[in-house]
């Protein structure tokens, strides 16, 4: 089972990204998925978590995610013990930052950085980084195919913002594939 933990702030759309990933791989790649937010009231600006669990078999585990294969950080000001906790040594942390990957301490896991804010500002004109970070995660992990994520956006995001987000997804995906 693969477990992804998303870190963001209330309002940044971390859970939407967790759901888009889940939708993409469950509906279009025949995997079993759970996607859930950190339970409780969400307040704008407060740190929030979201999770995506992916498996070939039906997932019956309802306990909290204790360790994870991937951590995605929508905002590098969140970086700290809460972000690195439970990330497996062979896992990957994808972090939205202008800094280089080696600026972030690692206990063995790989760190990949992407300036998703800049990309989002360029395409959306707004600093909304959930979709580009989803693209980056997929690029570095192979956890979902680009096509299925595009279809998920078509089904799940409001029509007005679909096209720009698909564009943004592709840009981030390619950018991260390029290893930058």
């Amino acid at each position: 089972m693969l477990e992804v933990r998303w870190h963001g702030r209330g309002g940044q759309g971390a859970f939407t990204a967790a759901r888009l990933l889940g939708h993409a791989v469950s509906i279009y790649e025949d995997k079993y998925v759970q996607a859930f937010p950190s339970f409780g009231p969400e307040r704008r600006g407060a740190p929030v978590l979201a999770f995506t669990r992916i498996n070939e078999k039906k997932i019956t585990d309802r306990s909290e995610v204790e360790s994870c294969d991937y951590v995605v950080v929508l905002d590098d000001t969140l970086y700290g013990p809460a972000v690195t906790a439970g990330l497996k040594p062979d896992g990957i942390m994808v972090i939205n930052s202008t800094k280089a990957a080696d600026q972030f301490e690692s206990s063995g896991f790989r760190v990949v950085t992407l300036d998703a804010t800049a990309l989002a500002l360029e395409v959306l004109k707004r600093p909304i980084t959930n979709v580009p970070m989803l693209g980056a995660l997929a690029a570095v992990s192979g956890v979902a195919g680009l096509e299925s994520m595009i279809m998920a956006i078509d089904e799940q995001l409001p029509p007005k913002i679909r096209e720009k987000n698909k564009q943004l997804l592709k840009r981030a995906f390619e950018h991260a594939k390029g290893g930058k």
Binding site: V33, F36, T60, R62, S63
Partner: protein, 397 residues
């Protein structure tokens, strides 16, 4: 053709209700049920569900409004949670006594105080005596399927009782999963609307929710009791028919998992069953004879099934998100009561866990099995009622 959707437990309930086409929905929002009533409002607004939607000012009125609608023969739905369920309490007893076939979803959530919005089952379990049939779902798919089954059960002319479909707050209500959505025609065929035998009619007026004094009351109550008992066989039969129509089955009143030669069995209710399945598989792979008994329906109580499955076990544990203060968990009381007739009653333990939403981990469940296995080996333990993961150094006694 059914379709797959990636939706939350709350949404699965809303989709099931849309498929069931109730005439009247009345509901009041409460976390973590709110998504259900929001989605249903959306369906009414976009025209995909034609029904009267009453945005009431409280849960007491929500249940009262669906009682009124049911009294005149309308198929109804409402949903609530926790404090809302408790606020309805008077009306819960009313609806069952009146034999109104109302279907309600309850998002299991702790009850105040301390205030807590997270999942435990103290809300619905405190209402076992309300006369409602209570069903608990393990995942979003079962939530959807159980809701459709609930209409079939509630409106059965021999039953005519309200049914509460319970799903664990957040753990199921807010978790997105792949859910197979049955097609409308199949659902229409499975739960066709038919007149309620006790409904008011303009041409043939009835007086309903009437008074029955000491001279008649017992017989009305006995009648209600008999109907509730009858529901047990119906639950099983409906599940079998559901399997034929939709290809999914849940075992009826209970589902036993790897219980055949099990020496110790853990009894569960709701979503924690899924986590426990993994632990059972792990222990089985180590050669341990462990099994799992999931209660789907707790009123009527699956006495025959519980007795039949637990009678060969050496030890049985009841894992529940509930405590009846000053005694033990209420599920435990019920299970023990069912076992009293057995010659070799297994030793039973009560694990009180997950109160106020505290996670129940695989290692917690492994610990419960370890305790049961020690008992099975003849190394009995003193504490029968155990608060799992209690974070204090002494037991305060």
């Amino acid at each position: 053709m059914s379709v797959k959707q990636f939706i939350s437990g709350d949404e699965a309930i809303a989709v099931a209700v849309k498929l069931a086409k109730p005439h009247v929905i009345a509901a009041y929002p409460i976390t973590p049920q709110t998504i259900v009533v929001e989605r249903l409002s959306d369906y009414v607004e976009d025209g995909s569900l034609e029904c009267e939607y009453l945005y009431v000012e409280s849960e007491h009125s929500a249940m009262s409004a669906v009682m009124g609608a049911s009294a005149i023969g309308a198929r109804t739905f409402t949903a609530t949670s926790s404090q809302g369920l408790l606020y309805m309490c008077e009306c819960l007893h009313y609806a069952s006594g009146a034999r109104f076939p109302i279907v309600m979803m309850n998002a299991n959530r702790s009850t105040a105080v301390p205030w807590n919005i997270y999942g435990d089952q103290r809300d619905s379990l405190s209402q076992l005596e309300s006369g409602w049939i209570q069903i608990y779902a393990e995942d979003a798919q079962e939530a959807l399927d159980a809701t459709i089954q609930a209409y079939r059960l509630a409106e059965d002319p021999e039953i005519m009782l309200p049914v509460m479909v319970n799903i664990d707050g957040f753990i199921l209500t807010h978790t997105y999963e792949v859910v197979d959505i049955p097609n409308q025609a199949d659902v229409d065929k499975f739960i066709p609307y038919q007149d309620f035998p006790n409904k008011m009619e303009l041409e043939n007026p009835k007086s309903t929710c009437i008074t029955a004094g000491p001279d008649w009351n017992t017989e009305f109550r006995y009648q209600q009791h008999v109907a509730t008992l009858k529901a047990a066989a119906k639950v099983k039969a409906i599940d079998t028919e559901f399997a034929k129509a939709f290809g999914r089955s849940y075992g009826g009143m209970v589902e036993d998992y790897r219980c055949d030669d099990a020496e110790v069995i853990l009894v569960t209710l709701g979503s924690v069953t899924g986590t426990a399945r993994i632990v059972v598989d792990e222990l089985r792979s180590q050669g341990k004879k462990v099994g799992l008994l999931k209660l789907r329906c707790i009123r009527p109580f699956p006495q025959d099934e519980v007795t039949a499955i637990l009678k060969t076990a050496k030890a049985a544990g009841v894992l529940e998100r509930d405590i009846s203060f000053g005694y033990e968990g209420v599920v435990f009381t019920n299970v023990n009561s069912a076992l009293t007739g057995l010659e070799n009653k297994p030793k039973t333990y009560n694990f009180v866990a997950g109160l106020g939403g505290r996670t129940i981990s695989k290692s917690d469940i492994a610990g419960m099995f370890a305790k049961l296995l020690r008992q099975a080996e003849g190394k009995g333990e003193e504490s029968v009622v155990e608060f799992v993961k209690l974070r204090c150094e002494d037991d305060g006694r």
